[in-house]
Symmetry: C2
Subunit: 590 residues, 2 copies
């Protein structure tokens, strides 16, 4: 049902991203493409054989909360998580001092695609835990790091993020949860909602990372602190002590990712949950910002992952289903040969491969940033790419999963088929970890207007210089890709200039943000596909390469250029003509 | 929760479509805009007060099949249907000789929007019944018409369409259900799937219209006949006789429209269900074609309807929810004032109003065709518009309902909110009554290539001539709309020329069909919005008109031109460069 795209990763890492050079630059000389292939193959097996088969049954059962406030995940989930831990897969990202393998993000991200594609609702648990490990590594005291990180690395404990409250979603300024200092810890009181895996049965302990306000904290976002609030209080030797004062009040009935319990968590019903401060008081927002790039890359990855899962299912159906005789085919030929089905699958494939290559570029930019702070110049490219990756891949996942339903015809609407689940599951992705509008605001205001377009211009220059060289390629298709990209870069520069020029009324860039983000997503996707196509063209005459594989890569790049890249032009036109039209709309006229 | 858009219909019919002239041309001089307003207001009340409140509970409960093969619809559905019948709403469309009111389609279509927006799963039952009334009026014998149509007009009986079989969906050639002649009737044996309201508790009797093959029928689509197969056999006086040999085997567990029972129907488990031939043997496909425009317009209308319902819910949420302080607003201002939320709602509104005006244009073209056969020249415009309406409106409903979820943020993903239901419900629309690819094939092969582009060129000429006049309008915005439309018509002509020129390989138009359909949807939507904007501009100085209403119309037209019309350019670029790229993809490379 699911096959991990190991060959595509090998191509992207080796031929598009340039693994060896990247590994040298990041101090991972021991990691060769052969090692990568071996790791990905092993991960792919676990994902395909153990985790993927739990996806549809997990959706049908869903997570269940019981009267004692415990939560049961679907059958097989706990065992699968144990298998992940046993295989060492929960330890890939963490630092060696905490028992981790400290592997580069290009590799861990590739592996994480397989978990997310196999079973997004299941893999969310590890995603959250990984985010917390990252935050604690960056901001917690050595004592807390040593107490809380190793059990999470071993897959015995899991982690959560507790940000949202009923009145406080996108706007964290309105958080009300209280923290009162009480000796070496704080007492936490309040309610948190939308807590993914806030309660479950897959781990011995759950470490909640909770945003709250101390008693004399300043109002707004400057008065937020972060606390570790474990379900069971660990003893100094790491063994589990008494239960903390917290409880899962309920879990949500959701459109998708039903196997993933989304908890309402109540803290301090009996005097206050014990919490340990991370960093210093009122540094909460900085700590959250420090892990934001990782978290947003991870959710963008979910967009890619569920797109590929849905695509694989649609492809399998299209090769199996017979309906009508496709043009220029014999009776009995499956529907994949109907030109419109071929178009649908080919355009899905092209977008997925563009996402994957851009995902690797983003992960590489994170590796090259060496965990530096976000205001370090080494992080500039990552800072620019992350909102694009998160916004573009999650928004496009809605369309890809929808097209996968469409390929199934009437069967796509029947839940038993499973295509509908991907469509439902994907719908959370442009919402959580910052809506697309939040990504767009980040992109336009922080990453574009703040430096007066410097970072994005550097990006355009780099793409254009590369494409100028590619335009001289002897292969007509490779050269055509380059010419289309050069034109698209020019268009993107015009749209950027418009946004910079119109920034005196800040509502105008705010109106344009989402379209700007989607435009840059296509542009960067096209960049990667042009590069892939160019490499494939050069390798066509290479006897060591599989010619069909390389022809497929070239054809896929042409499909991207002809079917997805034209949106750069359309979105630029919208940006350059449409902001005033929207702002002319009185809300009362809606 | 739902308010019927009576004012918008009044504007569209009076100022955009030209009601009086249309009513004169179609022999309905008695129907004035005041009468229309009165009818729509009454229908709007029933839709809002009685039918709409059943929508979300109906989704939660769903339809239920019992062990005795009976099916129960959600609480309130049967009473609501009785209220529709009592109000005379089930009799609007049918001919007067059968107890109908024989109202023009522009009026009945407007009313039907309200039922579909209020509760799509509920209103589907009437949609199917209406389709069957239409088919019987056109093709059944007088005896059968008099026996079966009046009870459906009165809302005592309902109708179904039985086309699909497990191996036979889009391709009706593979239908296997058998009909054996037995005196004055036939004995029907076979299984039909996806039968909407195939069994339910809202009517005394259910009249199934079933496609089947007689014993010596030719193979393929030329050997299909249509039969009336009632659940209970009526006596000559119309009273109910014995139960027929048919049974609901099961109902599907679906992604959406859960309150609408989608039945697997088994015919002839005990010797054969009694069926009455409609028309002559082997005329089944012609009979189906004869009602196709009506059925496809009705499903396109569902796309508009659910878009408006989802939009209304998102708008209400955006005016209620406070989150962050929008730019240039005071703390406490609701999220509707965030520029991106304003953009989202404004672009939704613009597309919905374009759909509504085009829907009325399509209905008017049907009224002007006077129920003539599809090869009658009077039907040419309707024949061209119907696949565009069905395909474009249902595809865009996916995006509009998705945006409505997005406006809700995290709440949109929680089923209790109700936004997710519209997103799920809408997903069937581009699939049933002919997938978007089928609409596109119809548009490209039958409606464009067959007459060598004559009908579509006539349409372009008409749009362009109207826009040339509008371009001289004193109002800058009205003139700008016209200029953008003239440019878009030119682009659409180029794309059409490409399709005509590339038709030697029929796979190329087949690849381009869906993008061509979506391009023409935007173009025709823009035509209507330019006309609306021009009228609004002219009425701004008219003291009898509400200036805010007219300003809103003008602004909405500008939003359409700047945010939706640019897709004409993008889709034309895809058409003109992308067909060969797709056909270069070997299916084995997918």
């Amino acid at each position: 049902m699911y096959e991990a795209p190991v060959d595509d990763y090998k191509f992207v890492l080796d031929e598009v991203i340039g693994l060896d050079k990247l590994m040298s630059a990041t101090g991972h000389d021991e990691i060769s493409i052969d090692l990568v292939e071996a790791v990905l193959s092993e991960a792919g097996k676990l994902a395909a054989d153990v985790i993927a088969p739990l996806n549809h049954p997990g959706d049908q059962t869903g997570a269940t909360r019981h009267d004692d406030a415990s939560v049961t995940t679907p059958a097989g989930f706990a065992d699968a998580f144990a298998a992940m831990a046993e295989g060492g897969w929960t330890s890939m990202e963490a630092r060696e001092e905490f028992g981790g393998q400290q592997l580069p993000m290009v590799l861990t991200t590739a592996v994480n695609e397989f978990w997310q594609a196999a079973n997004m609702a299941f893999a969310l648990c590890h995603l959250l835990t990984q985010g917390q490990i990252y935050a604690l590594q960056k901001s917690a005291s050595a004592e807390h790091q040593n107490l809380f990180i190793p059990p999470m690395v071993e897959g015995r404990w899991t982690g959560t993020m507790n940000l949202t409250e009923p009145q406080s979603g996108t706007d964290l300024a309105s958080i009300k949860t209280k923290a009162v200092k009480n000796g070496d810890h704080y007492l936490i009181t309040g309610q948190k909602i939308y807590i993914t895996y806030g309660e479950h049965d897959m781990a011995e302990n759950i470490v909640h990372l909770v945003l709250a306000r101390t008693e004399d904290a300043p109002p707004g976002i400057k008065g937020i602190s972060v606390f570790i609030v474990p379900k069971f209080l660990p003893n100094d030797d790491g063994s589990l002590g008494v239960a903390n004062d917290l409880r899962c009040l309920s879990i949500e009935k959701k459109l998708g990712i039903k196997a993933s319990p989304t908890a309402v968590m109540q803290y301090g019903e009996n005097g206050g949950a014990i919490g340990y401060l991370v960093g210093a008081e009122n540094q909460g927002l900085d700590i959250m910002f420090g892990m934001m790039n990782h978290a947003r890359l991870a959710v963008g990855l979910q967009g890619l992952s569920i797109s590929d899962r849905a695509y694989q299912q649609a492809r399998a159906y299209a090769f199996d289903r017979v309906q009508g005789t496709p043009l220029e085919q014999k009776p009995g030929a499956p529907i994949v040969h109907h030109p419109d089905v071929l178009r649908t699958l080919a355009t899905m494939k092209a977008e997925i491969e563009a996402m994957r290559a851009l995902m690797m570029l983003g992960a590489a930019s994170m590796d090259l940033a060496h965990d530096c702070d976000s205001d370090d110049p080494r992080a500039t490219r990552a800072n620019l790419l992350i909102p694009i990756i998160k916004g573009w891949m999650t928004e496009r996942a809605l369309d890809v999963t929808s097209q996968a339903v469409q390929v199934h015809g009437g069967m796509g609407f029947i839940e038993e088929t499973g295509a509908a689940q991907h469509f439902r599951d994907a719908r959370i992705l442009p919402i959580y970890e910052g809506t697309t509008a939040i990504q767009a605001n980040d992109l336009v205001f922080r990453k574009t207007l703040r430096d007066n377009g410097a970072a994005v211009t550097t990006l355009f220059d780099e793409i254009e210089a590369e494409m100028q060289i590619l335009a001289d390629h002897a292969d007509d298709n490779a050269a055509a890709n380059a010419r289309q990209m050069i034109s698209a870069v020019g268009t993107a520069r015009e749209a950027t200039a418009h946004i910079l020029a119109a920034a005196n009324d800040r509502r105008r860039p705010a109106v344009n943000g989402v379209n700007y983000l989607m435009m840059l997503g296509r542009l960067c996707g096209g960049w990667m596909m042009a590069r892939a196509g160019g490499t494939a063209a050069s390798r066509l005459s290479d006897t060591s390469a599989d010619p069909a594989f390389m022809q497929a890569k070239m054809t896929t790049s042409r499909v991207f250029m002809t079917h997805h890249l034209p949106q750069v032009q359309a979105l630029a036109a919208i940006i350059m003509t449409g902001d005033n039209a929207v702002l002319g709309m009185d809300a009362e006229w809606l």
